[in-house]
């Protein structure tokens, strides 16, 4: 019998997860050729993660709303009419031969409407019908004096503070006493059912769940379409750097900046707790999924936001702790760094265990990234949305060639976009794939 999980090193745990990714339990491929293709693609990705030399540079396109426009629809069409999602997704899968593909990222607008979700605006709901991307509404969903509440019991904070503020239907939760006692729950729930405000909430949840199941069915079918074409799913889980959890979600940019000056210790203590919680949640997601990759969009540690000194104090220590926790469980954190990281920041992030993570760059200088991270981790990127929008396929191919010449030598590189895209010329996206195949072969 082999080693048990607790005795394994992080590399051994990761190998276990890679095995599951390469041969996903319960998946029956439509044929040997497809299964072979799936394994080839996943192997290409795994080798890049481990900084080994694959047959060629893997290609990953995070397409977002592009999937809708590529099929002749708008984002609004796909958010409200689920029947249009699958044909759009199939068209995308068949046209763009990349090395991984998840289910598309369209949420169910009606579910959000039934529950009055307050943190997003989208076409048909607060944005013009022509809007090609949903927008996040940044606000102080946690007040400056509520750190203690959060630290004492994050679950209670989520239940009675955060949820009723971010979902209108859940507003009655703001008025209930804490649920933290170990007994009395059945009585409490019965009392709630007798309250007309909660009856309304339960009805809304029921109605939303009916709508949600329709959406989930379509998403499940899309995931199957990806597997049936031999595309390994990439995103096994998602998490944020603890500082981003506070600055994006809980306190907003303005609030988090005030806290950096007025109550830095409370902010730092809270980041520690968030790191622990986020690790649990991300690993939990990866356990339930086929892929070991944990996706991490990164926002407010970038060059344009904070100084390197602030990065070292507020951003990196708890993010590093979270990353180490997730790495130790055998998962592969795959970051996307919004904006750019300069030399000092790249040096700081280069000190993780070799080949344990993937850094996707948006605007970071890729030659600099290769120079500093080249011996530390796999890098990915960085065809930008602006290039895909404004340039010709020839120019895109030329840039991809530059990326491959710069980043691919020695392995540890994934050809990827710097961000999601919505409405660019499909020929430009095709040029990324073509150039990846043409120039990315390791000889």
């Amino acid at each position: 019998m082999g080693k048990q999980w607790p005795e394994m090193t992080w590399q051994e745990r990761r190998e276990e997860r890679f095995k599951k990714w390469l041969a996903p339990p319960g998946v029956k491929f439509p044929g040997v050729a497809i299964e072979k293709k799936y394994k080839e693609r996943a192997t290409r990705m795994i080798k890049a993660f481990k900084m080994e030399i694959p047959d060629r540079v893997p290609i990953h396109l995070a397409a977002n709303s592009f999937v809708a426009y590529n099929a002749g629809y708008t984002l609004k069409d796909l958010l409200y009419d689920y029947s249009k999602i699958k044909p759009s997704w199939i068209k995308f899968l068949e046209e763009f031969d990349q090395d991984s593909a998840d289910a598309p990222g369209f949420f169910a607008a009606r579910v959000y409407e039934i529950l009055d979700y307050k943190v997003n605006k989208w076409p048909g709901h607060g944005l013009p019908d022509s809007a090609t991307l949903h927008n996040f509404i940044e606000k102080e969903y946690m007040n400056a004096d509520e750190y203690d509440v959060f630290v004492k019991d994050p679950f209670d904070f989520g239940l009675r503070y955060f949820t009723p503020r971010t979902w209108g239907a859940f507003e009655p939760l703001a008025d209930i006493p804490s649920f933290s006692s170990y007994q009395g729950l059945p009585e409490r729930l019965m009392m709630m059912c007798q309250d007309p405000r909660f009856q309304k909430l339960f009805k809304a949840i029921w109605k939303a769940s009916q709508e949600n199941v329709k959406h989930q069915t379509v998403m499940g079918e899309c995931a199957k379409e990806s597997l049936d074409r031999g595309f390994p799913p990439l995103m096994g889980g998602i998490m944020l750097a603890p500082f981003d959890t506070v600055a994006d979600m809980l306190r907003g940019t303005h609030g988090s900046v005030m806290d950096m000056y007025r109550q830095p210790d409370k902010l730092l203590d809270t980041l520690e707790i968030i790191a622990e919680r986020s690790q649990e949640s991300a690993v939990g997601m990866a356990n339930m999924s086929r892929s070991p990759v944990v996706f991490v969009p990164m926002h407010k540690g970038a060059d344009a936001f904070m100084s390197v000194k602030q990065f070292e104090k507020f951003y990196w220590p708890t993010f590093r702790k979270l990353l180490m926790g997730v790495i130790n469980e055998g998962c592969v954190p795959m970051m996307v760094i919004d904006g750019s990281y300069n030399e000092a920041r790249l040096k700081i992030i280069s000190e993780l265990p070799r080949s344990s993570v993937v850094w996707t760059m948006e605007k970071t200088d890729m030659a600099l990234a290769k120079k500093i991270l080249g011996n530390s981790a796999c890098i990915a990127g960085n065809v930008t949305a602006a290039q895909l929008y404004t340039q010709t396929p020839e120019a895109i191919k030329k840039y991809v060639r530059y990326l491959i010449d710069t980043c691919a030598p020695g392995g540890g590189y994934i050809l990827a976009l710097g961000s999601g895209i919505d409405k660019c010329n499909p020929a430009n996206l095709q040029a990324v794939v073509e150039a990846g195949k043409e120039y990315g072969v390791y000889k």
């Binding site: 605006k121 076409p123 607060g126 944005l127 013009p128 022509s130 809007a131 090609t132 991307l133 927008n135 509404i137 940044e138 940019t253 303005h254 900046v257 005030m258 950096m260 000056y261 007025r262 344009a304 936001f305 904070m306 100084s307 602030q310 919004d338 904006g339 605007k363 930008t384 949305a385 602006a386 290039q387 929008y389 404004t390 340039q391 961000s419 999601g420 895209i421 919505d422 409405k423």
Partner: protein
């Protein structure tokens, strides 16, 4: 006292700055002098930002300090002294389909403290509203903000609408925000791309001929 005040604000010392502000007001000092010191302090903040010593948190926090000082000073201002002479008018706004306002607000703040009369149209601003505002204000400078990719086309459409309305030749247009760069500037046919709030001030200074 005035020198301390400027340094306290530029160094972002909240408690001491507010205590000193109150002290100066209690001593019946001319509030206009405090306003002048605000301007001096903000010039230092701007310089430190441009020099890479200060970042976005310092800009946001200095804005908060200024707001607090102004709240203390305003009741003491005589109406006549309240209006400082402005260099010129600038209109700014986040383009249609985009609701991001952090960058927009910082640009508004930096232009304002650097002597501009700023009209901010807010976020998700339809093309027609930009055209109308340029007609109404007769401002020669327009700043378009956008964070996400949909802003590329929204900016382009805004510039085209100004062309159609016959206003384009009299207006200098700058763009900025998350996904924007010089490629997008060319695509949208704007005049300049600015990478941060101080770049917006430099561009305005250039276009208004401020040395």
């Amino acid at each position: 006292m005035s020198g301390d005040f400027v340094n306290l604000m530029a160094d972002l010392k909240e408690e001491e700055l507010l205590a000193l502000t109150k002290k100066r007001l209690e001593a019946k000092e001319d509030p206009q002098k405090i306003l002048d010191d605000n301007t001096k302090a903000m010039a230092i903040v701007g310089k430190r930002f441009a020099g890479g010593e200060y970042f976005l948190p310092e800009l946001v926090f200095s804005g908060e300090l200024l707001k607090q000082v102004m709240a203390l000073v305003t009741p003491h201002l005589k109406q006549s002294s309240a209006k400082a002479k402005k260099i010129g008018k600038v209109v700014i706004g986040t383009v249609a389909g985009d609701i991001h306002d952090i960058g927009l607000n910082i640009v508004e703040f930096m232009l304002d403290v650097n002597g501009y009369d700023v009209t901010s149209l807010g976020v998700d601003v339809p093309v027609e509203k930009f055209v109308q505002a340029m007609k109404d204000t007769k401002s020669p400078v327009l700043g378009l903000s956008g964070f996400l990719t949909p802003a590329f086309d929204a900016m382009k459409e805004t510039v085209e609408a100004l062309e159609k309305a016959g206003l384009r030749k009299d207006i200098k247009i700058m763009i900025g925000g998350g996904q924007m760069d010089d490629e997008v500037r060319k695509y949208a046919k704007a005049d300049a791309f600015g990478k941060d709030a101080m770049a917006a001030v430099s561009l305005a200074n250039k276009w208004f001929g401020v040395k």
